[in-house]
Amino acid sequence: MKLQEITVTGKKATRDGFGDGLAAVGQTNSKVVALCADLVGSLKMDAFIKAFPQRFVQVGIAEANMMGIAAGLATAGKIPYTGTFANFSTGRVYDQIRQSIAYSHKNVKICASHAGLTLGEDGATHQILEDIGLMKMLPGMTVINPCDYAQTKAATIAIAEHYGPVYLRFGRPSWPIFTTNLPFEIGKALPLTTGSDVTILATGHLVWNALEAAKRLGLEGISCEVINIHTIKPLDTATILDSVSKTRCVVTAEEHQRNGGLGDSVAQLLSRKMPTPMEYVAVNDSFGESGDPMELLDKYGLGVKDVVIAVQNVLKRKKSPVLV
């Protein structure tokens, strides 16, 4: 696909995609039940609750209990979707997820909003940037970080049919919608543009920044292949290796710590299968802070210009692989 063919169909938050997807999957799959730790409005769960009050469980501000209850519901054939912020969905309840969900591969869907720096003004306490790493380390856990409203909605629906524990990560801010007419399949990377000079592998909100960067770089005559890695685990290794064998250099982009994120997974793949110059667009071992979401992305090196710089740097290394 060419860059010009990417069509923006509006602007909405990815969490709205979760809310609408949950209501939709509630209609088609009667096993789906939802739990929330007193953040119904933030998670946009109202439509599901209105339609299916008997399939909703308000657990109160008690996330550890919520994970255990979800595990218990799963043993009775339900498909529980838990809803709270991403930091309370992961770090706060890691042992519950590890012991009672992951170890016995229970069919629980951990749905996590307000991930990353784009949470904005709430600051570092809530801006989790470690959650992808925490969750992808758990054996058998599927990790999905959709890039816009439409993809989050599609993912929310798709995970009901995918047996096993899933971590679904999304966010707070209103964000461009550009995958409305594109397919979504768990574990299948979504190529957005074809290019020949560099592969940009992006996940979550940063996919949009990668597309914007590709536009700017196109003006300089640099051809970028932007691939949306919505499923970080299991990683679509075939699509990545296909692209990298052509471009011979990679930039990864994510709203997460460099440690433990998408870039780590890609580096692990390439170091074994196809050693390749690679640059990361990610937070580098730092907590966030309170601020405007877009300005925070710039400050912490996740802006459009940062993707542009990373591409320029990796192209230099491709020509002259020895680092100075």
């Binding site: 008997q54 469980v57 657990v59 109160g60 008690a62 550890a64 209990n65 919520m66 994970m67 255990g68 209850i69 979800a70 595990a71 218990g72 519901l73 799963a74 043993t75 009775a76 054939g77 339900k78 529980p80 042992d95 519950q96 012991q99 009672s100 170890y103 016995s104």
Partner: protein
């Protein structure tokens, strides 16, 4: 084919767990002996289960949260026929499913436990599912007293009455000793009955070694009203073996040959 006599079962369970602890150098014998009577009454007179279909949909669920005292649960499941003694004797060997904290891969075990404070939440989910599916199975959860230090339990203790989960029973093995001290020294639970009452539970206190008291407290047909039920079972750590009773050391030690013979001799004397 439920064993009809809980005392006969209890004697077998205690001898089995002591022997297991001796042969495989296992810890937590004291906490296993303190709950052996409750387990024996449950598996002989209370629980609905099918050893040939451990995942039978209509079974009662037993969640054993004090997973460190695994030998008691493994022993009772063996004695009622979920698996053979030969299978159990692989305990903690390379590749064995019988790990030294309870493992869900073993037939009859609902949940891997040992990381404390998890099972009661899972029990709430099971009970909630049972209510909404209108099933008549009951969910029993056994926690240790020390385990009630874990805050996650209190989240679940708040939740169950709010959702009127009267299809669940929590059993507290109140043997008064935890890892490195008495409950009083480490983190006092008293007044435990008042705490549960004030959280909205139907609270019963029993002698956790008296089989008729255990049976009366745990039977399903005496549940009235909408409250979940908690049975505080006052027990003795190392119950039935004089040199183990109320001794903190038997949270960790395993019996040597002479100690095993003496312990088995004492258990054999008990009717």
């Amino acid at each position: 084919m439920l064993p009809s006599n809980s005392k006969v079962l209890a004697q077998k369970v205690k001898k089995c767990l002591l022997t297991l602890a001796h042969h495989h150098n296992a810890s937590h014998v004291g906490g296993a002996l303190s709950i052996a009577d409750v387990l024996s009454v449950l598996y002989s007179r209370i629980l609905k289960y099918d050893t040939s279909h451990p995942k039978w949909e209509e079974r009662d669920r037993l969640l054993y949260s004090k997973g460190h005292a695994c030998t008691a649960l493994y022993a009772v499941l063996k004695e009622v026929g979920f698996y053979t003694d030969a299978a159990l004797q692989t305990f903690t060997q390379n590749g064995s499913l019988f790990t030294s904290h309870v493992n869900h891969k073993v037939a009859g075990v609902e949940l891997s436990t040992g990381s404390l404070g998890h099972a009661l939440s899972v029990a709430c989910g099971m009970a909630l599912a049972g209510k909404r599916k209108k099933t008549d199975w009951h969910v029993y959860t056994i926690v240790s007293d020390g385990e009630l230090n874990e805050g996650s339990n209190w989240e679940a203790i708040l939740f169950a009455p709010h959702h009127e989960l009267n299809n669940m029973t929590l059993i507290v093995d109140f043997n008064k000793i935890q890892s490195f001290g008495t409950i009083k020294e480490v983190l006092d639970l008293d007044p435990l009955k008042d705490k549960f009452n004030s959280f909205g539970w139907d609270t019963i206190e029993i002698d956790g070694h008296n089989h008729s008291e255990i049976y009366e407290a745990l039977r399903k047909d005496t549940i009235h009203g909408s409250k979940p039920r908690v049975v505080i079972a006052h027990t003795v750590k190392g119950k039935g073996v004089d040199f183990m009773e109320n001794q903190l050391a038997w949270h960790y030690k395993s019996p040597n040959k002479e100690q095993l013979e003496s312990a088995i001799g004492q258990i054999n004397q008990q009717k």
